[in-house]
């Protein structure tokens, strides 16, 4: 486990060195601009738009980082041939993968936390004070981070058996499909054959359901998120990531690196 931690910490350091956290400047500027402009061009949404814009920005920036850097985690090491030097040391392939995953999730945690702090500062500026119901924004940020962790796991898995471009496409495609899993469940089963209906239902549970983490509207309107949902979503991500990373480790362990 110590080796996993070392890989994770180095992945985090590398991300910082690669100026990944520079996106925070963009986020800060966007939020400042929104705080000043929205009140002047709209009516009655000064507070809610800050929350929805802030959460959307956290989500989009996080998505870009997790897909693009998630895919590059392994492929870059292979391309630069640094992977070979690393694997020559007493580090197992699954430990390397888990460390890479942990490092990027840690980077995303720092990034997301910094953006959340910025969002709360802007909320404080717009609302002049923070209320208890604003805590739901924290839950929404946590859910975004959970979603990003799942995307990193998927990106890592795809990057283990295909080219970086295809891995990006697969990850982005699965993310979009994962937003419409509910629609898949609501398809009219009457017009389908029993086999197709069963397959659709089975598929809807197999695919990652990203709609689980969407509480942006609740956060924008200050409506509380049930504690059970927080627990369920956390467990969902832990189990799903475990499955995906096990698959990724299995593929990566058998990969011919020559």
């Amino acid at each position: 486990m110590k080796r996993v931690g070392i890989v994770a910490l180095n992945t985090f350091r590398e991300a910082v060195r690669d100026r990944v956290l520079y996106n925070l400047v963009f986020f800060a500027l966007l939020m400042m601009l929104a705080a000043v402009v929205v009140g002047q061009i709209s009516i009655g949404i000064e507070e809610s738009v800050i929350v929805s814009l802030g959460l959307s920005a956290i989500s989009v920036i996080g998505l870009l980082i997790s897909v693009f850097i998630g895919v590059a985690l392994v492929s870059k090491e292979m391309e630069k041939r640094t992977l070979y030097a690393l694997l020559a040391k007493p580090v197992r392939r699954w430990e390397f993968l888990l460390g890479k995953f942990g490092g990027l999730v840690l980077t995303l945690a720092v990034n997301t936390a910094a953006m959340a702090a910025g969002l709360f500062l802007v909320m404080l500026y717009v609302k002049h004070s923070l209320q208890r119901e604003d805590a739901v924004v924290l839950v929404a940020v946590y859910f975004i981070w959970l979603k990003l962790a799942l995307i990193v796991a998927l990106a890592l898995m795809f990057s283990c058996f295909t080219t970086p471009l295809l891995a990006i496409l697969f990850t982005a495609g699965l993310y979009i499909v994962g937003l419409y899993v509910q629609e898949l469940r609501n398809l009219p089963v009457d017009v389908m054959s029993p086999a197709t209906a069963a397959f659709t239902k089975w598929l809807s549970y197999l695919l990652p359901n990203f709609e689980n983490f969407n509480v942006m509207a609740m956060a924008a309107h200050g409506r509380a998120v049930p504690g059970t949902l927080i627990l369920q979503n956390t467990l969902y991500v832990v189990i799903y990531c475990a499955i995906v990373l096990t698959g990724a480790a299995a593929v990566f362990s058998r990969k011919n690196l020559k």
Partner: protein, 303 residues
């Protein structure tokens, strides 16, 4: 080294001159386009469900953007005094489908829809539909019942339904006591000066938007002026009873001891008597324009 200096000098010359030229040219293009421009308002995607489906997980943000578009669209039309607000409904439809809990869109959207042009789209039927949709999505929000009662009371003149809306709203959590009072008052009296004043005053007090505040203030001032004219007519009747003729000027009422001084409208312009002997708003008062506009539109817009 010399060539580098020459390039730098060229850049210093070309950049400002080039952009100055572009600036002038764009002005020319703008005026050309303005001359041939037609109505460019359009809502490309009118299906709220489709827009929601395409918005991935960002529908709340998109709803805010659509709502801002509604405000900008309405504001531009309002400033230009243009009466064609046909894009208002599709925009509001998309906004509220994207975020059914965005109560501000139902509240102000209904106001934009219900009022007669150019203050609004003159579609109280759509305003009622919008508020009912809002109530369905936010059943405990009592202010939506207030808005529903408002549209029935002022725009549709359906006092029975207005009273029902206020009564229904009064049962909701956090509803203010006056909702019940208003329900009873409207059921008993129908339209009255005090009820109208109260409702417009509530809009004025509860809104922070300058455009809506201004509109509410104008309505309040007009109501006050109309009530003043009613009272002055009553005094003129009294004067006619005593003197056998109607007063020609306000000062006649003062001289007869019926008034302490010449009364003025909320804009500070003295009331006058018209040719028919009825009290009127002064020709110089900005309120007169508002009143004439409302009267004309109330006649023009079918209810």
């Amino acid at each position: 080294m010399k060539s580098q200096r020459a390039v730098a000098l060229l850049l210093v010359l070309i950049l400002p001159l080039g952009f100055a030229g572009i600036w002038r040219l764009q002005h020319g293009i703008d005026s050309q386009l303005a001359a041939v421009s037609q109505e460019r308002d359009d809502v490309l995607l009118r299906s709220g469900k489709l827009v929601k489906w395409m918005s991935l997980e960002y529908s709340p943000l998109l709803a805010d953007i659509y709502w801002t578009r509604v405000v900008q669209y309405y504001g531009n039309k309002h400033v230009r005094r243009q009466a064609n607000l046909e894009m208002l409904w599709p925009l509001l439809d998309v906004t509220t489908t994207l975020d059914p809990n965005l109560v501000v869109a139902y509240r102000f959207g209904a106001m934009f829809l219900s009022q007669a042009p150019p203050a609004g789209a003159g579609r109280p039927d759509q305003a009622v539909e919008l508020i009912r949709r809002g109530i369905q999505a936010n059943p405990d929000y009592w202010r939506l019942y207030e808005d529903l009662g408002f549209v029935y009371y002022f725009d549709l003149k359906d006092y029975q339904k207005a009273s029902e809306a206020f009564l229904e709203g009064s049962k909701k959590p956090d509803a203010l006591v006056w909702m019940k009072v208003m329900a009873a008052k409207i059921a008993a009296e129908g339209e009255s000066f005090s009820t109208s004043m109260f409702l417009w005053n509530d809009i004025y007090e509860s809104s922070s938007d300058p455009l809506i505040k201004k509109n509410a203030l104008q309505r309040l001032e007009l109501l006050k002026a109309q009530e003043d004219c009613k009272q002055l007519n009553a005094l003129a009747d009294e004067y006619a009873k005593r003197n056998g003729r109607r007063p020609a000027r306000m000062s006649d009422l003062v001289q007869a001891g019926l008034l302490r001084g010449v009364p003025a409208d909320p804009e500070g312009f003295a009331y006058v008597f018209g040719e028919d002997g009825k009290a009127e708003i002064n020709l110089d008062s900005p309120l007169l324009e508002q009143q004439l506009l409302l009267e004309r539109l109330n006649k023009a817009v079918p209810r």
